[in-house]
Every structure is written in C-alpha cells, then in structure tokens.
C-alpha cells in the first residue's frame, strides 16, 4: 500500500474559498499572469490571452467557470498552466497551495449534495484535515459553453 503507484501528487489551489486539486502530471507550470489581453466577443469564462515565454496562453477565469463571485478588485490572481491538445491554457485561481501526495484509495466520489455545477467539473473529493479537496476534471473544465454553442 505504500508503493508510489498508489499515490498521486496533486497541485492544490483555492478558488473563492474552496480548495481544489489537479494531478501534478497535468500541470505544466504555475505562474503569475501578467498583461492579459481581453478578447472582445468571447465568453465570460475567457479572461483573455497572454504571452507566456513566447507561447500564447488562453486564460480561463475559474471564478466564472465555477460561477462564483468575481475576485475583489485589487486581488491578484495566480495561474495554473495546462497543456491540452497542443494548446496552452492558464486557469486563473486565487492562490496556490502546497503539493499533496495522496493515496488513490482515499479519493471519494462526489458527495451527493455537492453543488451541481461543481460536481460536473469534479472527479472526486479528498477529505483533508478540516477541509475538502475537490479534484478537478480538466477536460470538463476546458469544455466551455461558448465553444459548444458555436460548434
């Protein structure tokens, strides 16, 4: 049970007071988003595009993705860099937490009463000391409404 393959390392971060996690293998990097160019006519989840070391990154505002209140003005966001289907994305979050190594068997399925929007984006939940860690389903997170409507 103490073998590495039964554990997954998660990058944890908080959005609107809730702790979330993504497997470290899915996270390219963590950066401070700067000079985000807003994209007119884009969906509300799209915070804009930015240049990260020569790559164009599409920034996704996780607060609007989760339909949470907008971040207080002045509060700076952090970004989780994701690579998906050859494209770069930056998930704008409130703050980055520590990397946790958690046993796979401890991942619990979504509580039945988990908010529906959240449940749709989550693969499961870890019960940590004093708080819950919601593990995000990155494919679902990147499936935006605007895009589906246009397709």
């Amino acid at each position: 049970m103490d073998k590495d393959e039964h554990f997954t390392e998660f990058v944890t971060f908080s959005i609107a007071g809730q702790l979330f996690g993504l497997p470290i293998a899915q996270v390219q990097d963590v950066f401070k988003p700067m000079n985000i160019t807003p994209v007119p006519l884009a969906g509300t989840e799209i915070a804009g595009v930015l240049n990260l070391r020569g790559r164009i990154v599409t920034a996704i505002e996780m607060r609007s993705r989760l339909e949470a209140q907008p971040r207080d003005s002045g509060a700076e966001a952090m970004a989780i860099g994701i690579e998906a289907k050859g494209e770069s994305f930056g998930l704008l979050i409130d703050a980055v937490g520590e990397v946790l190594k958690l046993a796979d068997f401890e991942l619990e399925s979504n509580p039945i009463n988990l908010e529906r929007k959240l449940a749709a984006l989550s693969v499961g939940v870890y019960r940590l000391d004093g708080q819950l860690l919601v593990i995000l389903d990155i494919d679902e997170v990147l499936r935006l409404r605007g895009e589906a409507a246009a397709a």
Binding site: V39, P40, I46, V49, T58, G146
Partner: protein, 847 residues
C-alpha cells in the same frame, strides 16, 4: 545558378550520400532486391531529371547504369565486378555533378569507356550511334572482363571523390534542410528573447547613466534582426511548389499526344513553407487534370477554331490575407450535362435537387467523393485519386477551392489559402484602449476624420465622403462590443474585401509591423471577427482582425441599413410597393402598439438607465460627446428601473433627442393610412398595423419639447428673411410630419392639401420661395402643378422640389421636363432639407 539546377544538385547529392551506404550493403547482399530497387530508383531519377535539365552527358551515363541495373532486377546474377562497375558509375556521376556545380556545365569529359563496359555487362549492343559506339566494336569481341578498365577508373575515382567531397561541402552551404519544427521552436525562443530584451530596455530606461546602454542597444538591434531572419526562414516562394510542373506537363504532352504550354505568374508570392508543402500535391493534380481532361487534342482544337497548342496558366497572388492560386486552361470546359447525368447515375443527387442547382453549383459537384468525369481511364488521371481528394487537401489547410467553367472556353480552378502560420504585415490600431492588428493586405488607405473628412450619417448608416464616393463605415468598437470611443478625432481605415470597399473607424493608429499569425485558441475560434492572435514586438498578445468576418457586419450593422431610400425606391419600382412605408413599431407606457415612420429615426440605441441624468426637470444622457435630452412618449414609460433602456434617437443636423420607449416590437413595411385623427398631443392618429390599431406618433410634437429653443432659435432670425416653403401634399400625415421638420430647419411653412389650394395660395400673393410638392395627388398631380407654375410668368422662377415615394430615372426625367428642380425621396428627411437649402441658397445667390 539556376534554382532548378541548384535544387537538383542538392537533392541528388543527398540521395547519393544515402546510396553510398546502400551500395556497401549491396556488395554484401547482392541479391537483396530492396537495395537494388533503391539504387535503381535513384539512377532512374537522375536520368529523368537530366533529360529535363539538358544534361546529356549525365543522362547517357545514368541511362547506361540503369540498363545494367534493370538486368539485375530481371534476375541477372550480381557479381562483384558488376558491383564495382556500378560503384564506378555512381562515382562518375558525382564527378560530373561536381563539375556541373563548379562550371555550371557538364564539362567536356568522356564517359564512353565506362558506358561501354556497362552496356557490355548488361549484354546490350548500343543501338543509337554516338561517337563512342565506334570504339565499342573493337572491345566487344574481348571476353567480358571489366577488370582492366577498373584499374583505370580507380585512379580517376580516387581523385574524383576527393574533389567531389570538397565540392559537396560548398554546395551544402547553399542550402540545408531543416525541420519546420526546429524553425518553430527557434521562433518561440526568439519571441522570448525579444520579451527579455524589452524588459532589459525598460530597466535601463530607469537608470539614466547606465554602462549597459550601448551594449544593450546593440543587443536590441541584433535581436530585431534575428527575429526578422527567423521569420523569413519559414517563407518560401510558391514557385518552389511549381518547379516540377513543367516537366510533368512535358511528359503528359508526350503521353497524351497533346501540345500544351504552361504559363506561370506570381512565382515569387511567398507563403509559409508548411502550407506550401501541403498545397503541392493538389496543385500537381489540378495541372494534370487540366492537361488530361481540359485541353483537347490538337485536331480537336483546330476543329474548334483554337490554336494548336493549349495553354495552362498558373498564377498566384496575395489577396486580403489569403493567397489565391489559379489554375486555368483554355480547353473544352466542363460538360455540365455529363456531370448532371453522372450525379444522377451515381445517386449523388435526385433529379429535383439537380434541377434546383445552378451551372456553377453543378460544376462544383466534381469535388464530391466518388465522382470522375473521365469517360476512359488514362494513366494520367482518373486513377481513383479524385478531385474530392484535392478538395480535402486544400480544406485541410483551411483553404477553399472553387471552379468556373465555360463550355468550349476553358476551366479555372481557384484555390484560396489563408495565411495561417504565415507572416503578414499588419497595421496596429487602437480602439477603446485595446490594440488590434489589421492585415495590411486588405488596407487601401488611411483617412483622419474631422475637418474635410467628417463622418456623416444617412439615417442610421455612417458614411464618409471620400473623393466623391460614399464609403460605408463600420465602427470597430461597436462590432467588438467595446465601450464608447473618442468621437472627436479618429481614423478611418479604408479596407477592401473582395469587391466590397468600406471604412473601419478606429481611435488611433500605430505602426505597421510584420507579425507572425498564431492560430487562435480553439476556445476563441468561433469569433468571426478575428482570424488569429499574434505577439507584438513588446511582448503583448493582440487579436488579428479578420476582414472577412468584419465585412459580414456591414450587412447587419443595423436594421435600417438595409432600408436606405435608394433601396426602398428600387423596391418600389420593381414591386409596385411605392405606397409602403417602413414603420417602427414599439411599446411605450401602454400595451397598445405605437408606430413611427422608420425614416424619421436616425438611430436605435440602448442606454444604461444608470447613465440617465436629471437636470432641471429634464432627462439627459451623454451621447456621442453631447448631452442628449430624453423624452417619454408616455408618462407611464418607466425610467426608474435598472438595466438597458431602448431609445429612439431623432437627429437634426447638430442635435439629437431621444424618445424613451419600453420595447421595440418590430419593423413592418406597409401602406400607412392614418384612419382616425387624434386629439391627443403627440399622436397623429391611428392606423392599422399588422391587424392591430396602432398609434402613429407625431415626432413634430416632441422636437420642440426637447429643445425649448428648437424652433425659437431659428425663428429668432429675422422672419422676413426666412425663406417660405409651400408644402403641397394631400396626405395630412405627411403635411403634419414634414411641416414641423421644415420649420425646425429654419423655414417658414405654408401647407396646402391639393394643387388647387397651392395655386390659390400663390395667386393670393403669399411670397413663396420654394414649392415642395407630392407627385401622386388626386385631381391635379405634381407634374401638372409644376407645368402650370412654369407657364405663369409670376411663378416661373420659383423652384419646385418633388417629393416622391419612387425615385426612378424615368420619373426624374419626366420631372425635369415638367420643371422640377429637384427630386427627393419621400422619406429622405435630410435630403429634403438639403434640397430646400440648396434651392433657397441659389435664390439668394441669384438675387
């Protein structure tokens, strides 16, 4: 050196390099057929290309080698001697190549010794006589033993391979092959370098006296050059994709017994290497297709009265951010009836579907999978690689393919490939504080607004007068739903997309910059206004405007746009709808619909209720840099809620007022008969619109309310000097509507309900400066009135302006003959005022 020759040398040297290794294996495994065919193929290629390039010495040698190789392929045992001989031949080829590179000619060497031995071993007697063939006869009797000859070769070869080694090194410096991926990575790194450079520049700027200043300046320049250089590496002239076509056409001519000339234009048009690679095959296929199916045989051509030799024309050019490649032939054109029949026979379409299709749509059916028009399969085309594959290939790189065909005249294929991944020159513009890139290719010119070039409005449509042409305008901030821009000074980017020329209004212009188009994120690809993203020199990411996406907005900028007076007049002529009036139906206060002629409204706006200000008991809103008074049509129209409030904007020349309404319901076009007059102020009367009793609003009632001085100000002018307009119209509605408007423009108005009343007024001695008359009137019509006025010496000098629902050329001619000075469409409010002004000004000038 000729590009073609250079490419041949590079390619052949590379292949020889590979074959060197193969040959060593060949020696060990002389019966390995795979190695044999590899070498055979190379030699065969050299032979073929030499023939094309006009290198007979190399061709002869390669041919002899090929002959021997083909014997091996046929099963002749491979001996060590034979391998040595083939090696010698290949080395000789290298020598000749080296000589070609050095002298750009084959040199005067003689290979007959080697050739003879090759043929002898192959067991062939040489058929065609060459100077060398005489020498053969002497040796032919000797037992086949190439050994003595080999000794000679060995010395020469050693010498030669040294020389060729040295030469090849030189050749590689001409060009090398690099993976596109490597270039992409390089590009990314350079972008990072640029970013870092900019950060450094920023830091140094803060420190006045820095030792870093000078070296950093140098670093900056080098970085810029590096960036430019790396960008250029990806670009290739399209001619590179055409190089092999002359040869292909030549071969086809021989094979098909046709005579075809290949013309190529715009070979220098540059496009991205990757795109180039992908367009190569479709192009080749189309050219083959033209040669095979398009161009007729010489007898057929002569019979059709054409020149003996057919022509295939290949051209490429940049157009609006795309590259257009056209392949046209002057052949027989597509057989539309045959395509129809085939489509039916293959079950692609039903008879009724086909009947509904135009000829050009039918032509495009050849791109459908499973379609081939060739009646017989030739070796050239019709081997199952159909036009559907061509289309698929073109579409794969985001392009489109189209064809035009005229029977007996020829066929033209146009391929349009977007410049995705390519570098374009772009104009960087600013609107509402954001920067955007507009591909320079679609920009015709730039105009600063204000002064001579100011933006004017035809009803709801902004236009710019540019060298006597009216240019439709689009505001970029409106298209992109950005905030208000600075209206006082801006720029118009005059753009062309296809045949459509239009102006895009922006706040500011920066420089032009060579930008690398980066594909759009999949999350943003649905936004038609943008074609991609790019990273600017300062590291910022900006969106690239897609002119094609923008031009779509021309059609739907506003509902009124499509309803210009011209359009109405034209419709009126065609469909007998001259009595139809476009009406805007809305609700305000009550549930009962209200209507106002659309022509009176200059804009429909939605304003944020939060922006409505109250001053002195009057509502105002900041609108286009001015305070616009707002009125409620009905006191019950609520203004206290939050959110957006629809507003009808009415504009005079310099002033606007807004009428607050609850909801805009519809725009209908119908005959306007005000059936019941109303006593209620602000309501002209009631009409039946779409089956419902509808209040017709009297705009004239509201204008003075908005500006207490709207009328006073004008009336303040010395009354006797204000020209007097005699307004003749049988419709009370129009009299009531136009009267206040003419008054508002500063004229005195005398209204008459018929021609008879008008004549009576004139003869009663009222001084009239201008007559404005309706044409269609019961009893005496407008034409008759004008004629009568002309005939009376007292009234002959009074200008007459005709108001007509239909402004047809015929009506204008008739009007001119009758003595009308001007013709104005009935709903063209601004036009009417302008016409009155023009006529009265002339009057004053004449006086």
């Amino acid at each position: 050196m000729d590009d073609l020759l250079r490419e041949f040398l590079t390619e052949t040297n590379e292949n020889l390099e590979r074959v060197d290794a193969e040959i060593v294996r060949f020696e060990h495994e002389p019966n390995n057929s795979e190695i044999l065919s590899n070498i055979f193929r190379l030699v065969h290629t050299i032979k073929g290309t030499c023939g094309f390039l006009g290198l007979p010495r190399l061709e002869t040698l390669a041919h002899a080698t090929e002959t021997l190789m083909s014997r091996f392929r046929d099963g002749m045992p491979v001996t060590g001697d034979a391998v040595t001989l083939v090696l010698s031949a290949i080395d000789r080829i290298k020598i000749i190549l080296a000589e070609i590179e050095e002298e750009q000619g084959e040199g005067g060497g003689d290979d007959s010794d080697l050739i003879e031995v090759l043929y002898r071993l192959a067991g062939h007697a040489r058929v065609n006589g060459s100077p060398a063939s005489d020498a053969v006869d002497g040796v032919q009797d000797e037992p086949a033993s190439p050994a003595p000859a080999d000794a000679n070769f060995a010395a020469r070869e050693q010498n030669a391979s040294e020389r060729s080694g040295e030469k090849r090194e030189r050749l590689t410096s001409y060009s090398i092959r690099v993976q596109v991926e490597t270039l992409d990575n390089l590009m990314t790194r350079v972008s990072e370098l640029v970013l870092t450079r900019n950060q450094l520049l920023e830091i140094v700027r803060r420190h006045e006296e820095s030792d870093f200043k000078v070296p950093l300046q140098r670093l900056s320049n080098v970085t810029a050059e590096l960036q430019e250089g790396v960008m250029k590496t990806r670009m290739q002239p399209i001619g590179n994709a055409w190089q092999k076509l002359p040869r292909i056409v030549r071969d086809l001519c021989a094979e098909l017994g046709k005579d075809i000339e290949l013309e190529m234009h715009g070979a220098n048009t540059e496009l991205d290497r990757q795109v180039l690679e992908m367009v190569k095959d479709p192009l080749t296929h189309l050219v083959r297709n033209c040669a095979d199916h398009g161009i007729e045989s010489p007898p057929e051509r002569l019979a059709a009265g054409k020149t003996r030799s057919g022509k295939i024309r290949l051209s490429a050019c940049h157009q609006g951010g795309h590259i257009i490649i056209e392949i046209s032939d002057d052949g027989r054109g597509l057989d539309i009836e045959r395509i129809r029949a085939l489509a039916l026979q293959r079950g692609l379409l039903s008879e009724s579907d086909l009947a509904a299709k135009s000829d050009s749509e039918i032509c495009n059916l050849i791109f459908t999978p499973g379609f081939s028009t060739a009646t017989h399969v030739t070796s050239v085309s019709g081997r199952g690689v159909g036009m559907d594959v061509v289309r698929a290939n073109v579409e794969q790189i985001g392009g489109t393919i189209d064809l035009k065909s005229v029977r007996k005249i020829g066929t033209t294929f146009s391929i349009k490939i977007p410049l995705t991944l390519a570098i374009v020159s772009a104009l960087i513009v600013e609107v509402s504080g954001e920067r955007f890139a507009i591909p320079q290719l679609s920009v015709l010119e730039l105009v600063r607004t204000g002064g001579e070039h100011c933006i004017e409005w035809i009803k709801d449509t902004p236009v710019l007068r540019l060298r006597k042409a009216l240019l439709p305008l689009l505001h970029l901030n409106e298209i992109l739903h950005l905030g208000q821009s600075k209206p006082d000074h801006g720029f118009v980017v005059v753009m062309q997309v296809g045949n459509q020329v239009f102006g895009l209004v922006v706040d500011g212009l920066f420089h032009t910059e060579e930008i690398v188009i980066k594909p759009m994120s999949s999350k943003l690809r649905h936004i038609a206004a943008f074609s991609g993203t790019t990273i600017l020199g300062d590291g910022a990411v900006i969106m690239i405007i897609d002119p094609n996406g923008i031009v779509q907005a021309l059609g739907r900028a506003s509902p009124v746009l499509a309803r210009t007076p011209e359009a109405e007049a034209m419709e009126g002529e065609g469909a007998g709808k001259e009595d139809l009036t476009p009406l805007l139906v809305f609700r305000a206060g009550s549930q009962q619909p209200k209507a106002v002629p659309l022509s009176l409204i200059s804009r429909l706006e939605e304003i944020d209720r939060g922006r409505i200000e109250l001053s002195n008991g009057q509502h105002f809103v900041q609108y286009r840099g001015q305070l616009m008074p707002l009125l409620c049509i009905d006191a019950r129209t609520s203004t206290d809620r939050n959110g957006m409030q629809p507003v009808l904007v009415f504009s005079d020349h310099s002033r606007s007022m807004g009428l607050l309404v609850d909801e805009i319901v519809d725009i209908v076009e119908q005959r306007l008969d005000v059936e019941i007059a109303s006593e209620q102020p602000g309501v002209l009367g009631y009409a039946v619109v779409k089956g419902r009793a509808t209040e017709v609003i009297d705009v004239g009632h509201f204008l003075p309310q908005a500006f207490a001085d709207w009328l006073d100000q004008r009336d303040a002018r010395p009354a006797p000097l204000a020209p007097k307009v005699l307004l003749v119209d049988d419709s009370a509605f129009f009299r009531d509507m136009l009267g206040p408007l003419i008054k508002a423009a500063g004229y005195r108005v005398h209204a008459a309900a018929s021609a008879a009343q008008a004549l009576a007024a004139l003869s009663s001695g009222i001084a009239i400066d201008v007559v404005v008359t309706d044409i269609e009137m019961p009893g005496m019509d407008g034409f008759a009135l004008a004629t009568t006025l002309r005939q009376d010496p007292r009234t002959a000098r009074i200008p007459v302006i005709a108001l007509s629902a239909m402004v047809s050329t015929d009506a204008i001619h008739r009007g001119r003959r009758a003595g009308f000075h001007d013709f104005v469409a009935k709903f063209d409010r601004t036009g009417l005022i302008a016409a009155i002004k023009e006529q009265t000004d002339e009057l004053h000038a004449a006086a």
